[in-house]
Amino acid sequence: MNFSILIFLFVAVLTTFAALVVVTNKNLVSAAMWLIVALFGAALTFVLLEATYIAVVQVVVYIGAIAVLIVFTIMLTRRSAEKEPSGATKQWPIAAVLSLALFSGLTYFYLTVPGTDRLAPVLDKELNMVSALGQLLVSPSGYVLPFELASVLLLAALIGSIVVAWRK
């Protein structure tokens, strides 16, 4: 099906472009808006990969919550963000070379290693993914420990953030 390839290319180009703007834009709020575009592109990729639960969760968590948190923080630290003369540090060429090297290395690796040219297998139509996910998350033979640890981690993050950021 050619159609899905077209959609994939569109999503990939959009996401990559948005990511580039995020790391180069000097205006922090604009960068945050483009970050939202990039994250939405990732959600579309998840839909293409038929992980629909992950796709909606990506939108709920990143666009609904994390983006709002980031924008609020930018506005809280406004004066400093506005004063900033340029977005990049002096060693940005080194960083650019490093990340380009990483990208080309990874691409070379993916194109040469066997097995990466395979196509997606057909998903089991009967499988109710969300339900299976729920059973896996709380079953002792599955991921119950990460599940409970995640709540402890979130609690720690919550209390830690309040301790650090809140001053009466």
């Binding site: 996401t15 990559t16 990511a19 580039l20 995020v22 790391v23 945050a32 970050l35 990039a38 994250l39 990729t45 990969l49 038929e50 992980a51 639960y53 992950i54 969760v57 990506q58 990143y62 919550a65 994390i66 980031i70 930018i74 809280l76 630290t77 004066r79 400093s80 963000a81 900033e84 977005g87 990049a88 060693q91 940005w92 960083a95 650019a96 490093l98 990340s99 380009l100 990483l102 990208f103 990874l106 691409t107 194109l111 990466t116 040219d117 997606a120 297998p121 993914m129 996910l133 896996l136 998350l137 991921y143 990460p146 981690l153 979130l154 993050a157 830690g160 953030s161 650090v164 950021a165």
Partner: protein
């Protein structure tokens, strides 16, 4: 249909861009945003491997959800530190905050 390598290369591109942001940006909030990009690239990789793997387990999706929790905690604490640093120094440029250098 789309071969696995395309998704992996796409994720690698987003990851490298995020890495560039982490290394080159001055502003701490911008660095945190770049880290979000990197984590998203990781998620794309995880889901792509899940989709293209032959056994029908859901480990990839579970990992992704855990990554969501971790990245949320990371961004929460990171931004709390940003606010705290800003209150102390009136400045959130990573270059100028170098008290721990020595």
């Amino acid at each position: 249909m789309i071969p696995l390598a395309w998704y992996l290369i796409f994720a690698a591109a987003v990851f490298s861009i995020g890495l560039y942001g982490v290394l080159a940006r001055k502003n701490i909030v911008a660095i945190l945003m770049s880290i979000e990009l990197m984590l998203t690239a990781i998620n794309i990789n995880l889901i792509a491997f899940w989709r293209y793997s032959l056994d029908q387990g859901l480990a990839g999706q579970v990992f992704t959800i855990i990554v969501f929790a971790v990245s949320a905690s990371e961004v929460a604490v990171g931004l709390a530190l940003v606010i705290s640093i800003y209150r102390r120094f009136k400045e959130i440029s990573a270059e100028d905050i170098n008290l721990l250098k020595w």
